[in-house]
């Protein structure tokens, strides 16, 4: 692990109403690596992910204590600028949610929010990001068609391109291939592996095979607590804790 973690979570507690979802989470996310968060359903994986870009803020009855430091700054500091924080991270949801506009406008959405780029710059940016996600050749002739006309796999890649267009530092993926067919899934997985050269990538997944294929580190979460954290191969083949052993049992054959 590097000395300068990209994200440093310190004693994070999240509760919604009377339910404690996350309990005393402390973890450091290393820089420019792919980290997968695994664990059974409902144990808080998505909540943990969403706490990174403050998407939990709007949940009714939510209580968040603790610190989440990104590049050394606490994003839950009352003086922090939320839109700025969110710009640093790109989120990919379980199902793709293209905005109700054209392919071009989807990718251009973020950049347009944060500045007034000239058309030429925008065109370049759109092309770059679409190429980065392997979509360019498929859509270059219909950039102004509605994004909803794309297939699901293409839509998810579009969402990725859209997220990359705001030049984040971190990519968050919430089971982002679970709605896709195998071909699209492996395209996206390859993208993640490729993108870690530039970005830190945190993925939530319940597919252990995917976690093994893609990630450098794995976090195992159970009932709102972090049970174990370590390099992929080590955690999967030689888990230290009982619970981890139980969970990955089926995978090691």
């Amino acid at each position: 692990m590097t000395n300068n973690p990209h994200i440093s979570v310190q004693h994070l507690n999240v509760s919604i109403g009377n339910n404690d979802i996350l309990k005393d989470i402390t973890i450091n996310i290393p820089n420019k690596k792919v980290i997968s968060i695994i664990g059974p359903s409902g144990c808080g994986k998505t909540t943990l992910l969403k706490s990174f870009n403050r998407l939990l803020d709007d949940t009714p009855d939510v209580k968040i204590t603790g610190k989440v430091l990104v590049d050394g700054e606490n994003i839950y500091d009352p003086k922090a600028e939320v839109t700025h924080i969110r710009k640093k991270m790109g989120l990919l949801s379980q199902r793709p949610y293209p905005l109700p506009m054209s392919i071009y406008d989807n990718v251009a959405y973020g950049p347009r929010l944060h500045g007034r780029p000239k058309k030429v710059e925008l065109d370049e940016l759109v092309e770059t990001q679409l190429k980065a996600t392997g979509l360019w050749n498929e859509v270059k002739d219909r950039l102004h068609a509605p994004a909803t006309r794309l297939s699901i796999g293409q839509q998810q890649r579009l969402c990725l391109a859209r997220g990359l267009a705001v030049e984040p530092e971190i990519i968050l993926g919430d089971e982002s291939t679970s709605a896709l067919d195998p071909v699209s899934t492996s395209i996206i997985e390859d993208l993640f592996i490729h993108l870690k050269q530039k970005y830190t990538i945190v993925l939530v997944t319940h597919i252990l095979r995917q976690a093994r294929r893609v990630s450098d580190y794995i976090i195992f979460v159970y009932m709102g607590k972090i049970i174990e954290f370590g390099p992929t191969e080590e955690l999967l083949l030689n888990p230290q804790k009982e619970l981890t052993k139980e969970y990955v049992k089926g995978f090691i054959s």
Partner: protein
């Protein structure tokens, strides 16, 4: 970046103002009626019928209109129920709830729902002329029934649709006829029927345009269907038009009475609706 924050806050304030205006207009209206109406309220208003010269300031009350409205609204609701319950049952139990015919019928009733009461009033008037009925309690009931049927059918339809499909689907019944299944469904939705009754009664009692041509007006309480009937909204309207301040004040008091009655009905019906759909996810 500050510009964006400013924009966000600006619109936030604008939105807050808007909702205050929109929700606050309720208080504004009811408040105005209360403030202006209470000074003129007394027991006479609700217990006496107009004496001679009521409209120029002498004795009396609006009991004629209160009773008249109750008769018209009540009669229309009963008549409306007699027609709407079979219709709602037919659409859901005999036609199957979700096919083309049923849905086109629903659209037809939605259209009827949207027709303004003055058109029903005019049409009711035509019917009266055709059948030789004079402006009377009967005329008023006929016109208001027309107004109320779409409301009833729509509400009953919505309520029946909340009954689980298996209970509705007559073909699943073990040898029961569709009629028997219908009776079961009706029993299930009893609170819903009350909601429908309240809703349509509230609408019927407050409407003017449908009774304008058809119910006539009278200072007396009607004792037969063929006598003209006063209605509260019309009474308010006529009193308001008087040059005498005392009478105008009585109009405010009458408006207060009507408002209170309708508010009670509305609150009751939404309380019932909420109790009834306890299981619905908000």
């Amino acid at each position: 970046m500050t510009r964006r924050k400013l924009e966000e806050n600006f619109f936030r304030v604008l939105m807050l103002l808007s909702i205050i205006i929109v929700a606050g207009s309720f208080f504004l209206i009811v408040g105005t009626i209360f403030i202006k109406g209470v000074p003129f309220m007394n027991w006479d208003m609700i217990t006496k019928i107009p004496g001679g010269g009521f409209y120029i300031g002498k004795e009396g009350g609006v009991l004629n209109a209160i009773i008249g409205s109750l008769y018209v609204a009540g009669g229309a609701t009963i008549l409306g129920l007699l027609i709407s319950i079979p219709v709602a049952i037919y659409i859901n139990m005999y036609l199957g709830s979700r096919n083309v015919i049923a849905n086109s019928l629903r659209i037809a009733f939605d259209v009827l729902f949207g027709i303004p009461s003055i058109v029903y009033g005019a049409f009711g008037f035509l019917i009266m002329v055709y059948f030789g009925i004079k402006a009377s309690l009967l005329g008023g009931i006929v016109a208001v029934t027309l107004l109320v049927i779409p409301i009833l059918v729509r509400t009953l339809d919505e309520v029946i649709l909340t009954v689980p499909k298996e209970l509705r689907d007559a073909s699943l019944a073990l040898g029961a006829t569709r009629w028997e299944m219908s009776k079961v469904v009706l029993r299930q939705i009893r609170p819903g029927i009350f909601t429908a009754i309240l809703l349509s009664f509230g609408r019927a009692i407050g409407d003017v345009a449908s009774v304008l041509f058809t119910a006539g007006f009278s200072d007396n309480i009607p004792t037969s269907l063929h006598q003209p009937a006063a209605t509260l909204p019309l009474a308010i309207f006529f009193q308001l038009g008087s040059p005498v301040e005392e009478v105008q004040g009585r109009a405010y008091a009458s408006a207060l009475i009507l408002t209170i009655v309708v508010l009670i009905i509305t609150v009751l019906s939404s309380w019932l609706a909420k109790r009834f759909s306890k299981n619905k996810i908000q």
